[in-house]
């Protein structure tokens, strides 16, 4: 339950060992390599940008090839695939796959080539289709488009850009060239914005006709082929079949290559590893025959690293305490109960230097508060069983998923517990079912009380939980001050607040006013109440005296008064915990609404069917919304109310040089348990 102590590690080794040492470091994933920038005439940095981008390109090639496979030969996927995790490889498997890397690259290249080919083919098909479309108005013409006429006649083939009848065409021509007598026109096709016509005139009238036609907007087709439109269309059709065939062949080849999916995934991982090695190698200093690296390592891993490296290589390795001004990265480590919440902490902020890791304290409250908000035995059981099943079935799951699911597993157990305490089983399903279908009302008695009967009691309880939560937060601040020897801060920032807030609460419990509001049958004797009122007063005076930091006494006093004003913050913090009550009641009330709606069909078999449908639908919805609500508000209570009392965060996450792969992991990976 703590922030891991970090040490600075420096390694100096022979250049011939650089690659295997980097590989070993990467597999162990214990060291975060830092940028060394004290270059001199002996030690220089190597520019590895080119090698790195080469590796990046190769990985990108693999990803592209995988995308091609996913497009043309999609593998069956299910929603649960997310949980499968990365496949583990032994060193031997790794080496044998490494030997085939050239081949995999060839396959990847071939796949991207094929996909390019298919894309081109599809473009070609579009072109051919539009050409065929352009031919369609001419299909009725059984002469080639460039038919000039016979020995004694001249032919004109073309179109008008409007819808015309045969008479219309004759009259148009007659108007343009009244002197022409022997004009023959044939309609080839008519559509709304085009009329295709075939004219035949005696050869002598050819030039007159041409002029006339030009003047009335007659357009010659652009495609003057010596084949008839039908022949052309047939040729295009044949071409299209050819292209389609070759696309199909390419798709078939891709499908055949899909058996290499695993190799491609390995290719991606392999080059990602390589890229990360180059990236880190670029941070080291190199001389002619040696190289020097420096980085951070958790103290507990230091002996293992030293042993692993010195047994294999000739090198010098040194560990040192990081100096004060260094920006040391932060890693936290918790037991199995608290570790699932590391993600929650991380999404707030990691502890900064000198702060303790609050995860384990937070975990107890997190599970308890989540359960209080959801507080239903049925929902808790579903949550715990669902996540438990996934955790057992997918042993190889990614770490972040494992943590999240484990967190919800514990939350589910807590939810079930509170469900029993407040007698909520899918709302009031037992009562409703027994009354509707068995004519006898069975009520499961709560282990403590039913919130709807006595909401004030639950409200008081929730606020009491809130006070404990807040005081724990303050307690952690106290601990941090004491540990660092800041006794004045411990008094001025924590103890006085304990006195003021705690004193006020206990004093309040001796007055009729507060007791009347809260409706609790618990009275602190007036004499004790008075004592705590004095304690609160002392605390208040302490806050006014210590709250300011100005040199000027008057300003300091004003600052102190302002500091005292923060007591309203405590009031709103405590009231904020009433959301526990509100969300807890909401779960129960919506659940009851669902059950009541389900039971409206009466007790017969039809009623039972209605009940089951409404039950499944309604409770699924309620479950989803309430789990989301409990999760969000649980985080809020931790982040705002709890962390607000002691935690600042701002630490930089420890990101060791490791195998950050997507598809495979390696057997030697050292698991930090």
């Amino acid at each position: 339950m703590a922030v891991l102590r970090m040490r600075r590690v420096s390694i100096c080794a022979l250049k011939k060992d650089q690659k295997p040492i980097l590989e070993a470091l990467q597999r162990q994933g214990m060291v975060e390599i830092t940028n060394l920038d004290s270059q001199d005439s002996v030690f220089q940095k190597e520019d590895l940008g080119e090698s790195r981008s080469q590796a990046d390109r190769n990985a990108g090639l693999g990803l592209q090839a995988l995308e091609v496979l996913a497009t043309y030969a999609p593998a069956k996927t299910s929603m649960l695939d997310t949980f499968v995790g990365r496949q583990a490889l032994t060193t031997q498997e790794f080496q044998s796959k490494e030997g085939q890397i050239q081949q995999s690259e060839e396959i990847a290249r071939r796949l991207t080539e094929l996909s390019r080919f298919i894309a081109e083919g599809k473009g070609e098909l579009v072109k051919l289709t539009s050409q065929t479309d352009a031919l369609s108005p001419w299909m009725a013409l059984d002469l080639p488009m460039n038919f000039p006429g016979t020995r004694s006649t001249a032919a004109f083939i073309g179109s008008f850009g409007e819808e015309l009848t045969l008479e219309g065409i004759y009259s148009k021509v007659a108007q343009a060239a009244p002197e022409l007598e022997a004009v023959h026109a044939d309609l080839i096709s008519v559509s709304k914005d085009q009329t295709c016509v075939f004219f035949l005139v005696p050869k002598k009238d050819s030039s007159r006709m041409e002029e006339a036609l030009r003047s009335i907007g007659f357009i010659r087709p652009s495609n003057l082929s010596s084949a008839t439109p039908k022949e052309q269309a047939e040729a295009l059709h044949q071409k299209m079949i050819g292209v389609e065939d070759s696309i199909q062949k390419a798709v078939d080849e891709i499908t055949a290559l899909s058996s290499h999916k695993a190799d491609l995934e390995f290719l991606v991982d392999y080059y990602r590893l390589k890229e990360e090695r180059y990236e880190n190698a670029g941070r080291m200093l190199q001389s002619k025959r040696t190289f020097l690296l420096s980085g951070y390592i958790p103290e507990r891993d230091a002996p293992a690293l030293e042993k692993a490296l010195t047994s294999r290589f000739d090198l010098s390795i040194e560990f040192a305490e990081p100096s004060e001004e260094e920006d040391v990265p932060v890693a936290i480590h918790n037991n199995k109960f608290a570790a699932p919440l590391e993600g929650v902490l991380e999404s707030y902020s990691l502890p900064s230097k000198g702060e303790i890791d609050p995860t384990s304290m937070m975990s107890i409250f997190y599970y308890a508060l989540f359960g209080l908000m959801l507080s239903d035995f049925g929902y808790g059981a579903i949550l715990a069983l669902g996540t438990g099943f996934l955790l057992l079935k997918y042993k190889n799951m990614d770490d972040s998923w494992r943590k999240n699911l484990t967190m919800f597993f514990y939350c589910g157990i807590s939810t079930s517990f509170w469900g029993i305490v407040f007698s909520s089983y899918f709302g009031d399903v037992v009562t409703v079912v027994s009354r509707t279908f068995f004519g006898q009302e069975i009520v499961i008695p709560p282990a403590w009380f039913t919130p709807l009967d006595d909401p004030m009691r639950l409200m008081v309880f929730c606020m009491a939980v809130g006070v404990i939560h807040l005081f724990t937060g303050l307690g952690i601040q106290l601990y941090q001050h004491l540990k660092a020897g800041r006794y004045y801060d411990a008094f001025a920032k924590v103890i006085v607040w304990y006195m003021l807030v705690g004193g006020l609460i206990i004093y309040g419990l001796s007055t009729d006013l507060l007791l009347g509001i809260l409706q609790v049958n618990f009275r602190v004797p007036a004499s004790i109440g008075t004592i705590f009122a004095w304690i609160a007063l002392v605390g208040a005076i302490g806050i006014v005296l210590t709250g300011g930091d100005s040199k000027n006494p008057a300003v300091r006093f004003a600052q102190g008064l302002y500091e005292l004003y923060n007591v309203t913050g405590y009031l709103s913090d405590i009231l904020s915990y009433s959301r526990l009550l509100a969300l807890g009641l909401a779960t129960g009330v919506i659940g009851s609404v669902v059950n009541q709606m389900g039971s409206m069909g009466g007790g017969g078999p039809l009623g039972a069917i209605l009940f089951i449908v409404v039950f499944l639908f309604g409770h699924t919805l309620n479950f989803g919304i309430e789990v989301l609500g409990a999760y969000v508000h649980c985080n809020r209570l931790q982040y705002v109310e709890f962390f607000g009392k002691f935690y600042e965060g701002g630490g930089r996450k420890f990101q060791p040089f490791a195998a950050h792969t997507k598809y495979y992991k390696f057997e030697e990976d050292i698991h930090h348990e």
């Binding site: 909401p455 009433s578 509100a582 909401a586 009330v589 609404v593 009541q596 969000v632 985080n635 809020r636």
Partner: protein, 165 residues
């Protein structure tokens, strides 16, 4: 006229329930709507952010549910759900009406503004998907006031139900 006056209490109670469901529901509809537009936008860019965007979109949806709870609770108290309506005095009916108001008004306004906060958080995870935890907190801060309203409405309804007027 007489029957109108004698049923006035019940009418007020139903008006309160209706307002809680309507206003809070309308607020949620607006909030989820605008957040949905933003969510659709970032899902176009990166379909992998769907689940995160969806959670953020759903956050302003709770007010509608809270309104529903209050409406149902109120109708239940006056015996309108699956039973005969209670004989309600005008004073008590108006009390039920007033008890529903916090949820109705705070639900409407908080859901609309929570929707805006959700939009901002959704654009936040578009740029910084790793900051999802923080992005979630901002809309949740707005929801606090809906929860407080829910709490007061619930307590008031329970209190009015016990009052003998």
């Amino acid at each position: 006229m007489n029957s109108l006056m004698s049923n006035m209490g019940l009418a007020f109670a139903i008006l309160g329930a209706a307002l809680a469901a309507c206003l809070a529901g309308a607020g949620s509809a607006v909030g989820v709507g605008v957040a949905g537009q933003a969510a659709a936008g970032i899902t176009t860019e990166d379909p992998n952010k769907f689940s995160k965007a969806l959670i953020l979109q759903l956050l302003p949806g709770t007010q509608g549910i809270y309104g529903l709870i209050i409406a149902f609770f109120c109708l239940n108290q006056v015996g309108l759900v699956g039973g005969t309506p209670a004989d309600l005095s005008l004073a008590k009916g108006v009390m039920y009406f007033c008890a529903c108001l916090p949820m109705a008004i705070a639900g409407l306004v908080s859901a609309m503004y929570q929707g805006k906060a959700s939009v901002a958080s959704i654009s936040m995870i578009a740029k910084r998907p790793d900051q999802f935890g923080k992005a979630m907190i901002f809309p949740a801060m707005v929801e606090t006031y809906a929860i407080l309203a829910l709490l007061i409405s619930l307590l008031a309804l329970i209190g009015v139900g016990g009052a003998n007027i």
